[in-house]
């Protein structure tokens, strides 16, 4: 068996392919998002360290997807206007709640993220069902290639050469994800689990340094989930990139994440290595709800349902 991929020391000291210097830190700092009167995210902060698998988890409605959508540029953070005093000149400075390296992700259109090396997959597969696997994955090469209608239409030698080169790389990526024998298959006829891998292959095709995965195990059976876990750690090890995943499947998260951030009702309630987070009383409470308090009742025999939050059986 290979050296433990989740061994923190090994990751920090000697990642499998050497830590790439273009993998940057994703910083989420004091991020707030409101929809009308509902606070979806309340001053959330966490950092995805380069080369790590970072999981964002939480019960339904905790704000995971909202957070994910802010990072990928689909939502903008809510910023309260600072109280202004008359007669005082206020210097307005954008808070830059989400940063990747030096880039302020809150100010970028979603399509600019790919050029920064941020790739994402989708919870509900968002591929072109009428196109082949190869063609879908090649779509990920968009920012790495040039050319519009005329250069494509004329099939200029330069364009054809570029096309050939990037097709080879796309096929390599498909190979990496076990899709080598599906290259010419139309995506619409693929089983769900395979289509999920195509989605990830397409995200990898932009050569990301940060990969955002939105519920990679959603809709997968146990076997496919296990395969997905192997894939995610494998691509991190092989490519040396960071992975941020939003996930429901606790088994998957605890098995592969280097660090876990837990959201509940829009607030960050825990942030740390999986083992630490798993033992966190707040997290257990968020996931098990009042059931945990009933356990209190049984063991302590006196704690009230509301106030007994601190007493967690170890």
């Amino acid at each position: 068996m290979s050296a433990g991929t989740r061994d923190e020391a090994a990751v920090a000291a000697e990642p499998p392919t050497g830590l790439r210097d273009d993998v940057r830190e994703l910083v989420v700092e004091d991020l707030t998002l409101r929809f009308g009167g509902i606070t979806a995210l309340d001053a959330v902060s966490f950092t995805v360290a380069p080369g790590t698998v970072h999981a964002l988890i939480g019960p339904n409605g905790a704000g995971k997807s909202s957070c994910f959508n802010v990072i990928s540029g689909l939502y903008r953070p809510t910023r309260d206007p600072a109280p202004r005093e008359p007669g005082v000149r206020h210097r307005v400075r954008a808070p830059r709640e989400v940063r990747y390296g030096d880039a302020d992700l809150t100010a970028l259109s979603p399509h600019k993220l790919a050029a920064l090396g941020i790739g994402r997959s989708f919870q509900n597969i968002a591929l072109s069902p009428g196109s082949t696997v190869r063609d879908n994955v090649l779509t990920g090469r968009h920012v790495l290639t040039r050319g519009g209608f005329l250069s494509g239409g004329l099939r200029l030698p330069r364009t054809v050469r570029e096309e050939r080169r990037h097709t080879a790389r796309a096929e390599e990526i498909c190979d990496f994800l076990g899709l080598a024998d599906r290259l010419d298959t139309v995506v619409g006829v693929l089983p769900y689990g395979v289509a999920k891998r195509v989605d990830i292959a397409r995200a990898l095709a932009i050569e990301p340094t940060l990969l955002l995965l939105d519920e990679p195990a959603a809709g997968l059976n146990a076997t496919e989930t296990a395969q997905m876990a192997v894939t995610i750690t494998g691509l991190r090890d092989a490519l040396g990139i960071s992975v941020l995943l939003v996930e429901h499947d606790m088994g998957l998260v605890m098995g592969i994440a280097d660090r876990v951030s837990v959201l509940d009702f829009g607030r960050l309630i825990a942030d740390g290595p999986p083992a630490e987070v798993q033992a966190d009383p707040g997290v257990i409470r968020a996931y098990l709800g009042t059931g945990e308090d009933e356990t209190d009742d049984e063991t302590d025999g006196g704690a009230t349902a509301d106030g007994g939050g601190d007493g967690v059986p170890s």
């Binding site: 072109s128 004329l154 006829v189």
Partner: protein, 400 residues
């Protein structure tokens, strides 16, 4: 645990992928087809009326290719095609025509006029792009329809450009390096057939159509085609891949309008007349034409370039075929037919074809063609979890 994973640069031999062999049969068939098309004036001989039908089909093909790129590849429904046809026709007449009493004409060389007309149409398409970027589906279709009415009104009001509905204006004779696409005496002959104006126009149209076809095929299988399809299928996903959705949508509209503009120039040369329509229902730039182009695209299979050519043969060919019958052989002359004209009858026929396609083969002629050739026959696959249906088309197939 990661041992099972194939490293990206590992030397593991890839499973023997089927080598893409050159299909000599297909190449030979294409070559024979092209030779036949080039020799068509010789085959037809003196029956110029048949040649006019063939020319008209090429107009439909060029316009249809432009529309199938927009509707089928980029996923934007447009009924504005006749407007851009009108723009192309009028621009050609204005750019290359001579200034006359009440008419504006710049007198530029006809080649410049043709290219300019295509450019003007594309630019007007760009002007409509902000609308196209904000609407989708049937809403965009209805909004684009307004351009047909705008064209009707502008065509009738701007008589100094269009010549007005009563007389119109004559488009300048097309010339290429001093070679005029007009009758001449003596005329060159090929195999004993004099190559006069209509024969020359056929060669011009064929060249334009082949260029339009090859450009479209190349674009569909290249980066821009993938971007179109990505935007069509999921804008958020396309943006995540770095595709500038607004720009790509606008670009598709520009390309489609430019194709329509070229078809407009061809229409002007074919009719030897630029004349705005008298009403919105009949004429060369009317609602009927908008529907006809949509029928071309649907019958051919949404997004398929060869399909659009096939659709043009069905829709534009039938109409001219019936017109020919009416003129030459006196079809529909019977009053008993109750006002059935060539145009109405062809509309019935292609309308039926559209209904049949939608009911029985949503992939259109392109899907039927693929099945006939027997490539990549979609295996009967049980519906994937998530209820996605099995698509019948494969629209990135370069040979589709």
């Amino acid at each position: 645990m990661s041992d099972t994973l194939v490293k990206p640069s590992s030397a593991q031999p890839a499973p023997a992928a089927p080598k893409r062999r050159r299909n000599w049969l297909a190449i030979a068939a294409t070559a024979v087809g092209l030779v036949l098309l080039v020799l068509l004036p010789v085959i037809i001989g003196t029956e110029v009326a048949y040649l006019k039908v063939a020319q008209y089909i090429l107009i439909g093909a060029v316009g249809g290719i432009g529309l199938t790129l927009l509707v089928g590849q980029a996923g934007q429904l447009s009924l504005a095609h006749p407007f851009f046809l009108l723009v192309g026709a009028v621009s050609y007449a204005v750019l290359s025509g001579e200034a006359e009493a009440d008419l504006v004409g710049l007198g530029l060389p006809p080649v410049i006029g043709l290219i300019g007309a295509v450019a003007v149409s594309g630019l007007l398409g760009l002007a409509f792009a902000p609308v196209a970027g904000r609407l989708r589906g049937i809403y965009l279709g209805v909004a684009s329809l307004s351009l047909v009415f705008l064209g009707l009104w502008l065509g009738q009001s701007l008589e100094s450009l269009t010549g007005g509905t009563s007389s119109g204006r004559t488009p300048p004779t097309f010339e290429l390096f001093g070679f005029a696409f007009a009758n001449s005496e003596p005329a060159p002959t090929i195999l004993g057939v004099a190559i006069q104006k209509q024969q020359r126009l056929w060669f011009l149209f064929l060249a334009l159509a082949v260029i339009a076809y090859l450009l479209a095929r190349g674009a569909v299988r290249s980066r821009i085609g993938r971007a179109w399809r990505a935007v069509r299928d999921n804008e958020a996903a396309a943006a995540a891949m770095g595709v500038n959705v607004t720009r790509v949508k606008a670009g598709a509209f520009v390309v489609s309008s430019a194709y329509a503009g070229l078809a407009g120039v061809m229409t002007a040369l074919w009719l030897d007349l630029v004349k705005p329509d008298e009403n919105e229902f009949t004429g060369n730039y009317s609602l009927t034409v908008a529907i006809a182009f949509l029928a071309i695209v649907i019958i051919g299979g949404l997004g398929s370039v060869p399909g659009a050519v096939f659709g043009a043969v069905v829709v534009y060919g039938l109409q001219q075929f019936f017109l020919l019958g009416a003129n030459e052989f006196g079809w529909f002359a019977d009053a008993e037919f109750g006002g059935l004209t060539a145009v109405v009858l062809s509309a019935f026929v292609y309308g039926t074809a559209v209904v049949l396609v939608v009911l029985f083969e949503p992939g259109g002629a392109a899907a039927i063609g693929r099945r006939l050739v027997g490539r990549r026959a979609p295996a009967p696959v049980p519906a994937a979890p998530g209820g996605r249906d099995t698509p019948e088309r494969n629209d990135d197939d370069p040979r589709a």
